[in-house]
């Protein structure tokens, strides 16, 4: 025998289920008066630095239908590439930018629309710069463990071409599943859970 490492196991994930809105966006679910507002709906205010953009996200199942009961969270750096997190020791993030957003997909259209700013570039662990990106996390009924992916920006071809994470994707044709095309101030990001366009998801 040897000494035990004494580690615990992570609590196992369980699906967020169809009623996730009650817990995470109660005002959206019609439960008013408990919390003042739904957390994560406002990422920016009038003083936020950076280019204002909107991001339209849909999550599409294996039959081609957008999920109308999903919950999407995004996490991103501020315009200078700093995260509003105590774990980012490189400097103070823009105090007028939360960096974190959370929205339910619309019960009819399956879309959600984040109002945010374009993030700056953040270093990879070896010091190379990553292209601007959003971390995206999806939960829903039928999803047993939250799905992590990233959204990159369609108008950042140069930065995307040298992004160390995108370069790790072996099947080059799959890189485009993480790149959202720009239309005016809106980036449109369709996340495909299955099929020939299945989005690259991360174990990270």
């Amino acid at each position: 025998m040897v000494q035990a490492l004494g580690r615990l196991k992570e609590s196992a994930s369980q699906t967020a289920g169809p009623y996730v809105h009650i817990g995470l966006t109660p005002n959206f679910a019609g439960i008013s008066g408990v919390y003042e507002c739904d957390l994560g709906t406002a990422m920016v205010n009038d003083k936020t630095r950076g280019e204002r953009i909107r991001v339209n996200i849909r999550v599409i199942d294996g039959a081609g239908s957008p999920l109308n009961d999903a919950l999407v969270e995004i996490w991103q750096a501020d315009a200078a590439g700093i995260y509003n997190s105590p774990s980012d020791l490189r400097g103070s993030a823009d105090p007028n930018f939360t960096g974190w957003g959370r929205l339910p997909t619309d019960m009819t259209t399956g879309e959600c629309l984040f109002e945010t700013i374009k993030p700056g570039r953040v270093p990879f662990f070896d010091g190379r710069k990553m292209a601007p990106h959003l971390t995206v996390w999806i939960v829903a009924r039928g999803i047993n463990i939250g799905l992590h992916t990233r959204m990159y920006f369609g108008d950042e071809e140069t930065a995307n071409a040298e992004d160390p994470v995108l370069m790790r994707i072996e099947q080059k044709e799959r890189v485009s599943t993480l790149v959202a095309p720009r239309d005016g101030d809106i980036y449109k990001f369709d996340i495909h859970l299955q099929g020939i366009n299945e989005t690259v998801f991360f174990d990270i």
Binding site: S13, T15, H21, I22, G23, N84, F125, G142
Partner: protein, 252 residues
Amino acid sequence: MTNSRSPANRTPEIGSFFPRDRNWHPPAFTPAYKTSVLRSPQRPLLSLDNTLSELTGPVFGQSILGELDNDLIHNFAGPGESAIGSRILVYGRLLDERGIGVAGALLEVWQANAGGRYRHKKETYRAPLDPNFGGCGRAITGEDGSYCFRTIQPGPYPWPNGPNDWRPAHIHFSIFGHGFAQRLITQMYFEGDPMIWRCPIVRTINDRRAIEGLTAALDMEATIPMDARAYKFDIVLRGRRSTLFENRIEGN
């Protein structure tokens, strides 16, 4: 969130997180839980060491909390009223895989009422709503990772999957740690509930010990006399490497 910095006396940890044990968690494709069939990615996941994008994460200050946020018996009830049902405390600690308490982390919960009915427009179960029960609550863990909710024990409920599937009584938990890689949603079950082992959602988990790890223990030492029984539920998030020796990479 603008004042989201942790207390000054807490030095943030920045080591990368232990990899997830994907055999311990439920797989994406679990045909006995039918909705997973069309919603499960089929390609392998891209494995990657954590970058700053996952090592960091949002942290929420106590200022977002209202006085009754962790009291589901009263936070939706009319003046002088309270939710109907078996009154319980749900308490425990948020730990990481090293056994260290995770401080200042936001926990959000939601659940059905005592009859097993959710306050949601997609709900189809015939059990009645409780006018004094909303079904949501939240708390931020203390310096040692501890938390506590006051609520009523939710009822089991039928759901459209197999011809006669019922969920065991459960409380949904959403947990933020210190880094976005720790983000987790899970469910708490109750000791002794015979419905646990029949449930196709519970059984998406292959390892019996992982299911037991989601089952809260009745704790008669923590009850409030003539008021509420108590269930103890510890939650474990991914641990992270401690920097025993600094290994600074050039350019950082």
